[in-house]
Symmetry: C2
Subunit: 410 residues, 2 copies
């Protein structure tokens, strides 16, 4: 008899975003005339930059000529893309990352889940609370946790609470943890990390032989020049950190699919016999064996992000969403709500008024003003009483949503 | 201290195709004037069908208008693609597969590896020998095997030998196995399976509660109308089989990346408490949590395969490679080599002459006539003394390679 991976049965029934979709669909069916504005899921809405489109059309045309046709590409990604990323995203900021340490993939969601495959099951794993649910769920699926308690906290994970009390930046734990997920600018809270703060984590990780999973999917939203974009801007990070990046939120690639993971060759972890094993070699073997690279056409689109026109266009795109975030922040602040984030990040994190629970506030916003956000409790127990509003929408929809909330609701 | 997945350390140093690339590169550097013809890796060479290119260019253009822009798509793939696949690839052949049972992905290599995540570690797993190396390596990485012996056979796996003696179709095992990998038309031997043969496997699997992983990546190469293209043409397969398909070899998508996996909703396996768990739900959860769907642009390209023009164009493409396979078969047969496959498959499986080992024959072909093939022993111990020649190349290169082999070598 074939058996299943029983760890899947520990997962809670509904992933956050499908549950939101279910409630929104039910409301829309019952109220077919309601003009619903969606500021829930962090999905971009504006056109793909022209530089990317031009490059992709040329790539499709190359596929039509056997002299320029491309079959299997390198599983790690094409050198011309990896080299531009290394030079412009890392070396230009003083982060010593070589092109060979960059692995192109079809998404950070995939990579942050798949990275667990190269690690043992006996690691102690830390996540912030609230946190991007994929970090937790993929650990549950991999068998790295026990079962969940009533608050949805899984046994075996170390939860590091983040709230207004600690400026949404987790305290360095007193206990030893082996794998640590950090995300800055943060999803869902919009918090950022200073160099000093990341330095404390890097020092901790080096002292304890820990590995930091640094999710920088929103780095393009950093406008403060003092803030680091990459953990490799911190001395010592090459010995303790893996970084995840994506073209989803800077270049609007959520439907086009391209991301990257940086695994420095100086990174090691322990084998059962106590020897040091290079993580680059394991990840390279994982990707070579279980992945066949990203579409040539899409990689050419990603490459165009690094052209002068591409750089101008993605800066405009990011500015556009940051202006949305500013409008959301200002309007909700003026309405006397406590708001966080949204300055160097596309997410605004709101304290629910009148002690409403996250889902109560969700239902009230949906039913009263037909605006969809994301309940903070969906990101973890410590997110209860908070609410995430995403800046990813048209200006018109953002302004309309804020007007409805401030005029009619609060 | 973070620890690694020690199972990776059981893997042999070189994956087959990188080792071939290493030897070819060394030869090319030492012999810069040699005109090397590559019939090794199974990678397509001819242009992408015009219907696919037209659809992808239109999709890129849609991405430039916020009214037709696409962000995150369904993790399972767009309904318009899944419905066409269900209708034309399955229902039209009498295989009762619903669109909701089809999961679009970026590659069969990924899917055949990732599928193991939803199964327990206590399953007994059977592979043929020789076999596509990814099936074995992904089981090693997942911890489903012990270490390898001198022949490269991993403890804990059940190897089912295939050779000319059994017409390259494995005998139904006398022992109980829980997960079984079958690939027809076969990589590497080019063998095919009759309905009667697959029926015997389906009956075995249903009797034993086993799951068959059916890799149909080369089904488009079947020309014999009596042969099944899908395992779901066999009664009972919906209760015991998962099928993998790809656009790589029928539509030339090796560099464009699109594939699909079929998980019928009638498929179950056992939880630790003995209850039956629907595998569709587990795979859907896996894909929703660890994958973000295939690029919209690429899915539109795949959809075009199902248009009348697309169907005509992929038939021409497959015919072209099948003619290559015929030429290879005829020329090598005329040169008194024992050849198999290459009729309903793009691979010709050759017995090495003069009792040469697979790698001896590889080196001799490379050095004497500058033709690259794939050593049979790279696919498993029972592949020793065989050699795979791929039909994926231009007509000119195939004819030139055959002429060199027959004139100068044999």
């Amino acid at each position: 008899m074939a058996t299943v991976n029983d760890n899947y049965l520990k997962l809670k029934a509904g992933y956050l975003f499908p549950e939101i979709a279910r409630r929104v669909n039910a409301f829309a069916q019952a109220n077919p005339d309601a003009k619903i504005i969606r500021l829930g899921i962090g999905d971009v809405t504006e056109p793909l930059p022209a530089a990317c489109r031009t490059a992709m059309i040329q790539a499709v045309e190359e596929m039509g000529d056997r002299n320029t046709f491309r079959g299997y590409g390198p599983e790690q990604g094409y050198a011309w893309l990896r080299e531009k990323i290394a030079a412009q995203d890392f070396q230009a900021r003083g982060a010593e990352i070589d092109a060979s340490e960059i692995f192109i993939s079809d998404g950070s969601k995939c990579d942050t889940g798949n990275i667990l495959e190269i690690f043992g099951h006996n690691n102690t794993i830390a996540v912030t609370d609230p946190v991007y649910p994929v970090y937790v769920d993929t650990n549950v699926m991999a068998g790295n946790t026990g079962v969940a308690n009533e608050q949805g906290e899984f046994a075996g994970l170390v939860y590091l609470p983040i709230s207004a009390d600690n400026n949404f930046t987790a305290e360095i734990p007193s206990q030893k943890v082996d794998l640590i997920y950090l995300c800055f600018p943060n999803n869902p809270t919009g918090a950022t990390a200073t160099k000093e703060y990341l330095k404390a984590w890097v020092d901790y990780a080096k002292d304890h032989g820990s590995i930091i999973f640094f999710d920088a999917a929103y780095e393009a939203y950093i406008t403060d020049p003092a803030l680091p974009h990459s953990i490799y801007e911190i001395a010592g990070a090459r010995e303790c950190a893996i970084e995840f990046r994506s073209f989803s939120k800077n270049a609007g690639f959520t439907g086009t699919r391209c991301a990257l993971t940086v695994v420095p060759k100086t990174l090691t972890a322990k084998a059962a016999d106590g020897s040091d094993v290079e993580l680059w070699k394991l990840w390279n073997r994982r990707q070579s064996t279980k992945f066949n690279g990203v579409s040539y056409i899409v990689q050419r689109g990603a490459e165009a992000v690094y052209s002068p026109e591409g750089q101008t266009q993605i800066k405009e795109l990011v500015s556009f969403y940051l202006d949305n975030a500013r409008i959301i922040r200002e309007k909700l602040s003026a309405a006397k709500l406590a708001v966080y984030g949204g300055v160097n990040a596309p997410y605004v994190w709101v304290k629910t008024p009148n002690s409403l629970s996250s889902w109560e506030f969700f239902d009230k916003l949906l039913q009263t003003v037909n605006v969809v956000g994301t309940p903070g409790s969906g990101f973890g127990a410590a997110g209860e009483g908070y609410f995430r509003i995403s800046a990813f929408n048209s200006r018109e929809n953002v302004e309309e949503a804020m007007q409805r909330i401030t005029n009619h609701f609060i």
